[in-house]
């Protein structure tokens, strides 16, 4: 019966990992990733490793999707901040935006 539990959780992990790869939109991917963290935590508990399950819960369920969603928000917002009159940067590369930001931070520091 322990084997049945292990097989069920392994199947859930495999299915959610496949879904995380198959979903293309990063925001929706973050939701599937959080479910992947949950199933992995269940798998670790079934395999008698509750300490690993605890850290997996903290990292996989909360931190990784939060970082992903925050990064997506930041990337989506960046064109608006660039249009606010930061200068004539029209190349559109993220490196130029980062350079502008670091330059602005330097000015603020001085």
């Amino acid at each position: 019966m322990d084997d049945v539990l292990i097989v069920i959780t392994l199947l859930l992990v495999a299915a959610s990992a496949t879904a995380a790869v198959a979903v293309r939109d990063p925001v929706r991917q973050a939701l599937v990733l959080s479910l992947l963290g949950l199933t992995l935590a269940a798998l670790f508990t079934v395999l008698q490793a509750p300490d690993v399950a605890l850290s997996q819960l903290a990292v996989g369920t909360a931190l990784t999707p939060l970082l992903l969603t925050l990064a997506v928000r930041k990337v989506h917002r960046r064109p608006h901040t660039r249009d606010d009159g930061r200068g004539g940067e029209t190349t559109g590369s993220t490196e130029s935006a980062g350079a502008i930001e670091s330059a602005a931070a330097k000015e603020r520091g001085e």
């Binding site: 859930l12 879904a19 599937v32 959080s34 199933t39 269940a42 508990t45 509750p50 605890l54 969603t69």
Partner: protein, 159 residues
């Protein structure tokens, strides 16, 4: 092999499997609700596993999940406010079913644990789960409305 492990296996297979389908497909509103339901179901399954393996320390995993799950859903309600504003979650049947499942699992576990600190801890986890899920479901339904009023000044201040 005992009934607790069988119940945990059934909960994982019949509960988390459909929520996985709900998270992987459909509009964002359904995905967020399904993810919230999945945290509750995995938490209940962990409680059952702790009783089935007869290791009371495994309950800590469920306690952490009961705190982290609704907090994560609140974060999603804040960060995905634009998507939720366009189409807020409507159906409440799934949330209510999941919340009704909590006493069904926690009360037998308390009876099995007997009176004492362990039963109190289980009851606290159950109360956390129910309260957290109600708050999270409410936040998801109200995400569009509240953010509609709050986003304007915040965006203006940031720009």
């Amino acid at each position: 092999m005992n009934g607790w492990l069988a119940a945990a296996a059934a909960l994982l297979a019949c509960g988390v499997g459909p929520t996985l389908w709900g998270v992987a497909t459909g509009p964002v509103r359904r995905r967020v609700v399904a993810q919230n339901t999945a945290t509750l179901l995995v938490c209940l399954a962990t409680l059952l596993l702790a009783q089935g393996y007869d290791r009371s320390s495994y309950v800590d995993v469920a306690l952490v999940l009961a705190v982290l799950g609704p907090a994560g859903t609140l974060v999603y309600a804040r960060l995905l406010a634009e998507d939720l504003k366009a189409a807020p979650p409507t159906g409440r049947a799934g949330t209510w079913a999941a919340v009704a499942l909590t006493p069904l699992v926690v009360v037998p576990l308390c009876v099995a644990a007997g009176p004492g600190r362990a039963a109190l801890k289980l009851l606290a986890i159950g109360a956390l789960l129910v309260a957290g899920n109600m708050v999270a479901a409410r936040a998801l339904r109200g995400a569009g409305r509240t953010d509609c009023e709050g986003a304007g000044p915040a965006e203006a201040a940031r720009g």
